[in-house]
Symmetry: C2
Subunit: 179 residues, 2 copies
């Protein structure tokens, strides 16, 4: 059975206590979304696959007449997750950013339009920093207080990195406007 990053993401979320497909998606939207996007349509087929492969246990857990499944890691699931976390193996990273692509080709623009592009990118970076600090970090810090530090670590890395990029772009703007 082949496991992809999305498989480990689901395994990891179950490990952190998310029990239903819905809860996994909710948690992912508030935390891992930014460095590993996952759509809802991926969650249910993948849960079924992981259950079929013996990595997840599944129990019926209805709320009234509304069906619900409660997933938990099996021993094999726990082991697969641990092995992945310890392996440095072939870390797939992929970064796609249309804004940076524009910047690459910015010489085709007038200086004024170049400045406008830099300003837009800077504002976007600032917005990422702000939304991460206001919307993502608080929940991550609540988890941190109970001993789970990964989410807060990652949220701070994101906020601080985009804050750095914001400053970098601000300097680039200044240099472009007044060389």
């Amino acid at each position: 059975m082949r496991l992809r990053p999305a498989s480990y993401l689901i395994l990891g979320m179950v490990g952190l206590g998310a029990r239903s497909g819905h809860a996994i998606k909710q948690a992912a939207d508030r935390s891992t979304q930014f460095f590993w996007p996952m759509s809802l349509a991926q969650v249910y087929p993948e849960l079924a696959r992981l259950h079929g492969g013996g990595l997840l246990r599944r129990e019926e857990d209805p709320r009234g007449g509304r069906e619900r499944h409660a997933y938990a890691l099996t021993d094999a699931g726990e082991q697969a997750l641990g092995e992945w976390l310890r392996s440095g193996h072939a870390e797939s990273t992929q970064f796609r950013d249309e804004g940076i692509l524009r910047l690459f080709f910015a010489d085709a623009l007038t200086p004024a339009d170049q400045l406008a592009l830099l300003r837009r990118l800077r504002e976007r970076a600032a917005a990422v920093t702000a939304s991460t600090r206001e919307e993502i970090l608080p929940a991550a810090e609540a988890l941190e207080a109970s001993g789970t530090r990964g989410p807060a670590l990652v949220a701070r890395l994101r906020a601080d990195t985009y804050s750095y990029v914001e400053g970098w772009l601000e300097r680039a703007e200044a240099e472009l406007g007044d060389p």
Copy 2:
């Protein structure tokens, strides 16, 4: 005719002087690869599509018995590229990083394994900085000397950002080892 980022990437590369599909792919591998990956199999169909849509002119330009096409921007192509560059519209960004995903779930590891993970991520960041400065920047700076500044700007942004991340991870390591 619908234009995607990969379309503008090709248009932009032609604008910068890449004439054949091969040359476009070569240039992309050395520069835009890192923030907008594009595989060879995308290039030729997309060139044909852009030619069919009137955004590229195409001439036969054989080298001996080896066929070659020389592409150039039409007025419509130049205009489409310019409009995209000036539009702030819906910048699609997507960041996927398996290493950060591991960090998010790192609480499942022993402290020693957490440290090892942080170290691996730091070394990876350092390698990105180094390879960008050594392999990407020099060519971009040569272009810069002749007035095309985008490539160097983007290469420096990449190198400096990963350098910042390297320092950040180093501090995180220190805090984890000695809180």
